[in-house]
Structures are given as structure tokens and as C-alpha cells.
Assembly symmetry: C2
Homo-oligomer: 151 residues x 2
């Protein structure tokens, strides 16, 4: 009786393997996300993870946000702001995406600015620590710790 892996019409209990397959990430990643509080589920009688289908959308959103350059911690914050018990509505998601839209717009603006100054500054030698805009992240957009952060 092949009703497990593709028995999808059943109400919403996905195993970790199913979530992984459907969301395109590794099982270990699902473990990790759950441990980090990015997704939530419950356990069956045999201690195996079970997830509601909504988790697929969450994982999708996580992945998209990562492509946008957001660190997991920030994504976790955003997801934590979503209602945990009631079903997340389209409006909830829209609000979340609106916030990220703004963030992205700022980053794009900064990136464009940097790009346009690149030739000028690198070429001419004005890369002084105090004088050059390329070197001074005094903008409203803060730099972070070690490691790159966008895309």
C-alpha cells in the first residue's frame, strides 16, 4: 500500500523526509531549522517529527530570504512575529514581505551607489579611510560582523 510518501490528500502530517523532499532541502536542514526555532512541529508516538503543511511555505520563505541576503537570525525574528497557532494569512505574509522589500530597496540603493563610485575611487586613489565614501559605512545601513551579508 503506497500511501505514505505521496499520500498527500491526508490531513497535513508530514514527516521530516517529506518536508525535505517537497521543500528541496536536506533532512538535516529541517532538523536544524526546527532546533533554531524557525519551524515547528510535533512528535508522533514513536518520537518522530511531524509537520503541518504550512511548514513548506515557511521553508520556502526562509530560502528566499536567504537568497536576499538576510541572515537566519533576522529571518527567525520575522517568522517569530507571525502567529504561531492560528493559520498564517496572506496578509501576514504580505506584511512580512513588505518589511523585507524596504530593507532590500535600501541595500540595492547602497549597492548601486558603491558600484558607481567604484571606478572613480579605485581608479583615482581616493580610498582614504576618512575621505572616501566607499570606505566609510557611515550610511544608515550598518555593516555587521565577519562574513559577507548580501546574496
Amino acid at each position: 500500500m503506497a500511501r505514505t510518501t505521496t499520500g498527500s490528500t491526508r490531513e497535513a502530517a508530514l514527516s521530516v523526509g517529506e518536508v525535505a523532499a517537497r521543500s528541496g532541502v536536506a533532512v538535516s536542514t529541517i532538523h536544524f531549522y526546527e532546533q533554531q526555532g524557525l519551524i515547528h512541529g510535533w512528535r508522533n508516538s514513536g518520537n518522530q517529527r511531524r509537520f503541518h503543511r504550512d511548514v513548506l511555505r515557511r521553508v520556502a520563505v526562509i530560502k528566499v530570504a536567504q537568497r536576499l541576503g538576510l541572515p537566519l537570525a533576522m529571518i527567525a525574528d520575522a517568522l517569530a512575529a507571525l502567529p504561531t497557532e492560528r493559520t498564517v494569512t496572506a496578509a501576514d505574509w504580505r506584511q512580512l514581505s513588505a518589511a523585507w522589500h524596504g530593507e532590500l530597496t535600501e541595500r540595492i540603493a547602497l549597492l548601486s551607489q558603491l558600484r558607481d563610485q567604484l571606478g572613480e575611487c579605485i581608479g583615482c586613489g581616493c580610498l582614504s579611510l576618512e575621505a572616501c565614501q566607499l570606505r566609510n559605512p557611515d550610511d544608515h545601513l550598518a555593516g555587521q560582523g565577519p562574513g559577507a551579508h548580501m546574496l
Copy 2:
């Protein structure tokens, strides 16, 4: 000028501490960059690092490139393409920056595209693995390994 050894004046020799102070990075970072082959210098009689002033510009360029989201390995490649012995000219730097300009333009384009699809896709639920553009990095712009990559 050309009074002393190997093409540089005596006062052009910077210690690691001076480089660090002037370029705004930690001494350990200078050690690290040297070890990674991003910058080069020589040793004095007491085995202490000495650098030509040109290294300041290199460090500046490294930092800017990092702000742009380029990983060190890519920066290292670009810097390795610069002449090692003759003085790097403005034209050399211009060429380097031109390459990065293109790279950046592509990234900006992708980012803008993602941003514009964000509300639409997250809001409406089209984030399917196969169908959604946000989820499919099939674009000419490749994703990389773990860790974020832009700004």
C-alpha cells in the same frame, strides 16, 4: 628619490602596526591577509614585517570589495592579476574595478528582480519549488555555499 634599495625609499617601509592603524583593520587581519597571499611584504633583520605603502591601497580595495559582497577568494584572484613587481598603475585598478562593476550590476539586477517578486510570491503562495522564480536560482547568477554573500 631613488636613493636606496630595491626601488623604494626608506621611509616607505611600514610596520604591520602602522599598516593596521592607517588602513583601519586589526593587526591580526594584516597577518591573515599576508598569509592568504592578498598582500605582500618583506621582513627586516629582526624578522618583523615591513610593507610598502602600496599595501594600504590594496587593503582599502579588499575592504571595499568585501562591502560589495565579494568573497576573499575572488578578491585574491583579482589582486593576483595585478602586477606584483612593477608599481600598480591607475589603469590596472581601473581594469579591476571595471570587472567588479559588471558583477555588481548583475547582482543588483537580480536583487531588484527578487525584491519585486517578493510581495507577489510570498503573499499569494506561489512559492512552489518548480514554478516560482523566487525559488529557482536557474538564472545566470549562481548561488554559493553556506553563508550569505552580498553586503
